[in-house]
Symmetry: C2
């Protein structure tokens, strides 16, 4: 719950690249080799390897080498932790907005009394 923060850094950063997301989408349909992941991407194999490394460092992907090919597979648990962070924040504010809506509906006409609370 605390050092997960730095984990989230890596996860969201990994997710912020369209090429890496494409790899993940591919991986969500089943395991794949490194060169297979990079095939639709128009870049050198070395670059693909670096992307895979980012994904693996983030925990989104795990891989193992069998013979001379490295097989990657998605790790849903890490994906879930990112999803969890988002849904927490989103849930929080949506509940807040709901309550605000009710409040405004009840006492229509009054301005927001104190949205931020401690305003120094």
């Amino acid at each position: 719950m605390l050092n997960q923060v730095t984990d989230l850094d890596r996860v969201f950063h990994a997710l912020s690249d369209p090429g890496r997301r494409l790899m993940l989408e591919r991986l969500s349909e089943g395991p794949a080799s490194v060169s297979e992941l990079g095939r639709p991407l128009a870049m050198s194999l070395a670059a693909v390897v670096q992307h895979v490394q980012v994904l693996e460092d983030s925990g989104l992907v795990r891989s193992q080498k069998l013979g001379r090919t490295r097989t990657c597979r998605l790790n849903p648990a890490t994906l879930r932790s990112a999803e969890h962070w988002i849904s927490e924040s989103r849930g929080l504010i949506e509940r807040r907005l709901d309550r605000l809506g009710e409040y405004l509906a009840e006492s229509a006409g009054s301005p927001d009394p104190g949205p931020a609370g401690t305003a120094s």
Copy 2:
């Protein structure tokens, strides 16, 4: 569904910074001013403004200036689109793993028949 991709770039990139996530958590409890968002962050106001700019470009945050203070508030819709992308990928692979589990339970002993499909 298509040009959302570049939007997701910005959203996930915005989420990849711990300071920005802290701002979002703050914002999920209600609107706040720029200097208020930056108070716990140990950096100059100018830097905070730049972070807010990133959040706003991503669509995660909207703001309006009233008097001399800019008030920021969270936009749950954008948060939801990021959550949606993740849950899609995660759902896909978890269903796949479930099916694989059933398959392995039924015909125990057989190897995976063809996980990637088109292996060229």
